[in-house]
Symmetry: C2
Subunit: 400 residues, 2 copies
């Protein structure tokens, strides 16, 4: 938690990964993010992983440091309260449909300078998910050794869309501060995916070649990088991105002469060309397999670290969770024991670290409706009698 | 191109994916992003994919709509010019080392309110790359069917770090506008990766279970989702995230009775529980394999679209590049024929679409040093004689 966004209040009506991470990143930088959900929780409220009591460890980590207002959004009165909250606050993150009761046009009738950021599936409103846009743009057909497609497990498009949505929100707010004008920024997962393919050169590449890139397994395209196995069976990723790293790597492994022989035979020089190191990997990889296969992992680490070679052993997520650099001693983590699930475990704060500022501990997620009374009273000026009536009628939910 | 960030000028000194995408997203929203590179190009200037003439399709798409200043950064005079540019402009995106000549402390001596966003490998300055943080946090051991680790091909951590860096830049600028104070936000890839594992509930899950999640191939964890093959051999991803989609899916496939029999046998109801649909996938998947395997893909699409079921066939990247929804008729793309490579192809603009504003066409990337004279004259007030002297001495590069 940092206070970069002090004083910024945001309404979030969202579910799953993309839209909640946009709110999360803002909350971790000090914005007051008020998540408005269906009474009892939205469609992601029990998303796995869950505890034995069916509390979602996913939900309670994607919604840290936010406040929760619970409304019955199946009822007109609940929907009107959410509309009024958005209009009162003026900044809105959502993945609700573009044309429904939370359309920007409808909301902006009551708040001309409203800024809305809307995560979508396809731009026309057709639903799509991380896993369905991923296979639409081609990555599963390039992942693994084939021939079957391999899905990623990380919801990469959701995550990228969420971070981009947080950026877009601040950009649109900046414009409003300078011009007084509100706007809606729509962020479709499908456009994030195909736009990224284009940004990485993929659209130009496949159209120019009129062919797909070959499937490379764990080999990195276009430079020297692959997984290798040490003498004691540790599989390690090694990637070379600078010419100095290349020189250091072959020297550290005693491969200068052997690599020189390949260069002489092929009539090339690898010293200053990533692409050639990739192109001639059929000759280079066996040399490295033998040299790394002759070293125990600990010895390899010593040699590579001294040489500034970038390497990393494959770990499981449980290994990672027990790794002191990654979690235990990492200042982005803090102990969290006030979670809705009742479990205690290390919780992450903002990814970014600001050396000039003190980092505060990660805050827990709210319980559904925990801040309903506070926010509806303060932001909408509802009286305690009115709030009591709405609780009785089930329009407002409060945390039990 | 949109003009949300009109009037914002940013210096970018960076390479590869993460840091350049942060600048790209800002440039596509109208910021003036000035990329400063080594004369002749930095370490990513010829990164594959490249053309026959060794022009990088990767570089020219990651650096669209930016300006280019070329300096000899191996020389003290070139380094001083870059420092002066950063101090003159006041906003800086980089992945240069935290402790070198571009350290925030050094730069802030000449510009107290400087905002720096720095993408890093590990927080201590140790280099890391997308592919080495990915295996450090466990994803390759969960991807595919095993037992070998499978790397992702999409540089997901780079991309997420880049979008987050763009967000962090605007957040830090917002704070400066309110307090007058500058700051440096450090964004280490390793913290983005392990923080994301935590945000998705992964750290809590594996620590609570003291076990890793099973490897699931193309099955989505915790809900009903997997790839299925139609009668005519089309492999299609199907994912159910709402209870209505589930009801529609089993009705559309005529599986209501068969699913009801599973529910009766297992003593569960799938109607309102994603987790149960996942837990009992051993019984459910064969029903869907048979039902989908009895339909041609075109028939399946008709039925599923009418039912609002989310599905998507696996395509190659070449298929995607030729898809009119994704590229040809997609307004985020525009024809681009002024690329440094000389190739003409569709280029992506901002991921976000703003219905209230007119989208301008994507701009090409600059040639190395194309704006050296303009920027050094305007931002630093160098005379034409001084610039000529620095060009002659090789400190300043200009586009040929």
């Amino acid at each position: 938690m940092y206070n970069l966004l002090d004083g910024l209040r945001i309404i979030e009506a969202s579910s799953f990964v993309a839209s909640p991470t946009a709110g999360l990143y803002c909350a971790q930088f000090g914005a007051e993010v008020i998540r408005v959900d269906q009474v009892g929780g939205g469609p992601d409220y029990h998303r796995w992983p869950v505890t034995e009591a069916n509390d979602s460890l996913y939900w309670e980590n994607l919604n840290r440091a936010k406040k929760s207002v619970a409304l019955d959004l199946t009822q007109p009165e609940g929907r009107e309260l959410l509309q009024a909250l958005v209009q009162s606050v003026g900044q809105f993150i959502t993945n609700f449909p573009a044309d429904g009761f939370l359309s920007h046009a409808t909301l902006a009738e009551g708040r001309q300078d409203l800024v809305t950021v809307r995560v979508m599936g396809w731009p026309d409103g057709t639903p799509a998910l991380d896993y369905t846009v991923n296979n639409a743009v081609g990555y599963p057909m390039m992942t693994g050794i084939g021939p079957e497609p391999v899905n990623h497990v990380l919801p990469a498009w959701d995550l990228l869309s969420g971070a981009y949505a947080a950026f877009a929100l601040l950009a649109a707010i900046r414009r409003r501060e300078q011009t007084g004008l509100g706007s809606e920024v729509r962020v479709p997962l499908s456009d994030v995916a195909i736009g990224t393919v284009a940004n990485l050169g993929g659209v130009a590449e496949v159209l120019h070649n009129n062919a797909n890139r070959s499937r490379l397994g764990n080999t990195v395209y276009g430079l020297f990088g692959r997984d290798f196995v040490t003498k004691d069976g540790v599989r390690t990723m090694i990637v070379v991105v600078t010419h100095r790293q290349w020189a250091n790597l072959i020297a550290a492994l005693g491969l200068t002469d052997a690599v020189g022989a390949v260069e002489a035979e092929r009539g090339v020089s690898f010293a200053k060309d990533d692409g050639l190191r990739f192109e001639h990997r059929d000759a280079l990889f066996p040399l490295f397999e033998a040299a790394i296969g002759a070293l125990d992992h600990a010895a390899m680490v010593t040699v590579f670290d001294a040489a500034g070679v970038v390497h990393s052993a494959y770990k499981t997520m449980l290994d990672a969770a027990h790794d002191s650099c990654l979690v235990g001693d990492n200042p982005i983590f803090s102990a969290s024991d006030a979670n809705p699930s009742g479990l205690a475990y290390p919780a992450a704060g903002a990814f970014g670290t600001i050396p000039q500022l003190q980092r505060a501990d990660a805050k827990p997620a709210p319980r559904n409706g925990q801040h309903s009374e506070e926010i509806l009273s303060e932001a909408l000026g509802l009286s305690s009698g009115e709030i009591a009536r709405l609780i009785d009628s089930g329009i407002i939910g409060i945390a039990k």
